[in-house]
Amino acid sequence: MSRESILGKLRKNKPVVTSEVSAFDFESGINATEEFIRSVKDVGGNVTGINSIENWGDWIKRSYGIGLNVYSEVASLIGNYLLDKEISNEQLNKIDVAVLEGEFGVAENGAVWVERFAHRSIPFITQHLILTLKGSNIISNMHEAYAELAEYGIPDFGVFISGPSKTADIEQSLVYGAHGPKSLTVVIS
């Protein structure tokens, strides 16, 4: 009943709008990678080049500490923590460092689009998040991002991640690691 009454009212009440809406005309920046790195840092993330990592295992130990559960979905890094076929919340909650592949990065806001993971909660529940990204997949702005998404179709679930989880709910003091990852590192290859 609600449906018909709402649609009926909208039909009766909707205003007449004559202005035309055309696709937003935008210019692409030139140094997208440079701007992307600056943006990720501005939103509290870290950026590193794949070349500066000789050995993933050592690098993770050095950056995050020893004895951690490292879960990876990136081919070049084998993690030490695996998930069962039937994944439980408790199991997910033990991930210390998650390494996922980003599809593309957006220079204007440092966001990385992520849509492939064994479980949708992984980029949020992990204590620390690492996203890998091909340097050639960095684009200028959100218009290009949606053009990209239109080409492949919006996935069942996907997320732009820009920096670590944060809050400023207590007197506007910025604190990282509200509920999601306490740190985010983007590794550019």
Binding site: I6, K14, H119, S121, F157, V159, S162, S165, A178
Partner: protein
């Protein structure tokens, strides 16, 4: 009627807090300016956003039907709620059918508007707010005072006190420590909740997908770990095309907090295997506002809160002084649609400076609507009569002169009468002294010299 002027008094009792509130929101406003300044095409984006929204509202009926069809095909269950009660009932039924007695919830002004939390609590369902600010408010039993920064009316000492009381920890006013404490406290709820409630920032008709933005990641923590995701959405949030999201996501966080985008911008199209997504399309008065000439553009609002941060009245009086779900300038033109008696003083809680309109990312004519509401609300009552009498007096030279002499005499001899009549002005300021003669008298005396 609850008078805004009266209800602002409570907040104004603590001048140091008022100053802090004022300065902090102004600082957020400046962050917004900086973020907007970094985008060359900012004004074009605002114009595009305004046009897209106006067009989308003019086609809302057909857009909603397209959205519904696509969403259902994707496996999302779509519900329609004409009223707040219907919305609450749908959620309560969904939870009871599944024997769920506790839910985690992320921030949603719509559920505040519908009074969902008290409704569910009355039906034996515990609601755990997971946005840090909202969790604090839930403990304090306060309503949000700002739509983006819900606990901006509280100082960290007060927050530390409530943490100590509720979580039995030593009192602290360290935001880092308090946030970490809340993280650990709420993680247990995330891991064990069967259902999660969220709002919706945008939905798109062409794919049937919807978008939820958070900085904390709490919406995603809730929904991905639960079996059932229930999303509440005001019907005006619908955009026609996926590419429209680019325009709005570039504007939203920059306008709200000066961030280029929120930390997490999640796109939901299909439920994960074995899980459910329910989306509730809520009207609750929106379709009626759509039919009001001169007022319908208020529905373009994307709830960024920029108009609050810039408003001199909001910054000084605090969000609770508006006693409406959505406070500030946008709340002042929205709330009277729901109850023009109860919220009738809100359009007057403004200097009509127009700063709200200048920062609005979707170009809502807030100041013009504030003025239009004043016309509407005073039609045929005493104050409009008074204004028309003053207008007549100003047109008549002699009457004006006599009135001037008379009123000066009153103010000189019986200042208490003036102070009583102009109480709102005089209780915190003094009226200027009455000059010995009027300018006209002075001119007459001096023109020949």
């Amino acid at each position: 009627m609850t008078d805004h002027y009266e209800s602002a008094k409570k907040f104004l009792k603590e001048p140091s807090k008022v100053d802090w509130h004022d300065e902090t929101l102004w600082w957020v406003r400046k962050k917004r300016d900086r973020a907007a300044g970094e985008v060359d095409e900012w004004e074009e984006l605002r114009e595009a956003a305004s046009n897209i929204k106006e067009r989308a509202l003019a086609e809302l009926d057909s857009n909603l039907m397209e959205f519904e069809q696509k969403a259902i095909a994707n496996g999302i269950t779509v519900h329609w709620a004409a009223s707040a009660e219907k919305h609450n009932e749908i959620i309560s039924d969904l939870l009871r059918e599944r024997n769920i007695s506790r839910v985690v919830k992320s921030k949603s002004m719509l559920t505040e508007e519908c009074g969902l939390n008290p409704y569910l609590e009355n039906h034996g369902i515990e609601v755990v707010d997971t946005d840090l600010g909202e969790r604090i408010l839930q403990w304090k039993e306060h309503a949000p005072s700002h739509i983006v920064m819900p606990a901006i009316h509280l100082k960290k000492k007060e927050i530390g006190k409530i943490f100590a009381e509720k979580l039995k920890i030593p009192e602290s006013d360290d935001p880092q420590l308090l946030t970490e404490t809340a993280r650990q406290h709420l993680r247990g709820y995330f891991l064990h909740s069967k259902a999660a409630l969220t709002g919706v920032n945008f939905a798109v008709a062409d794919t049937g997908a919807f978008v939820v933005c958070t900085n904390e990641g709490n919406a995603d923590m809730g929904v991905h770990l639960a079996d059932v995701h229930i999303a509440s959405m005001g019907i005006e949030k619908l955009l026609p095309k996926t590419e429209d999201l680019a325009v709005f996501l570039r504007l939203l966080a920059r306008s709200a907090t000066g961030q280029p985008i929120t930390a997490f911008t999640s796109h939901f199209k299909k439920p994960a295997r074995g899980k459910e997504i329910h989306l509730i399309l809520v009207d609750n008065g929106r379709s009626a506002i759509l039919g009001k000439r001169g007022f319908w553009k208020v529905l373009k609002c994307i709830r960024c809160g920029a108009c609050m941060n810039t408003c001199p009245v909001f910054r000084k009086a605090g969000g609770h002084s508006y006693h409406s779900t959505i406070p500030g300038p946008i709340g002042a033109i929205l709330a009277p649609h729901y109850d023009s008696e109860k919220y009738g003083s809100l359009p007057f809680a403004s200097s009509l400076c127009g700063s709200c309109t200048a920062v609005c990312p979707v170009k809502i004519d807030i100041d013009r609507q504030l003025y239009a509401w004043r016309q509407e609300l005073t039609r045929g009552n005493g104050s409009q009569l008074l204004v028309s009498l003053i207008g007549k007096a100003l047109q008549r030279n002699k009457l004006y002169d006599r009135l001037g002499v008379f009123l000066s005499m009153i103010q000189r001899r019986f200042p208490w009468i003036v102070n009583r009549v102009l109480k709102a002005y005089t209780q915190s300021r003094s009226l200027p002294d009455v000059p010995a003669e009027s300018f006209k008298e002075w001119y007459k005396r001096n023109r020949d010299e």
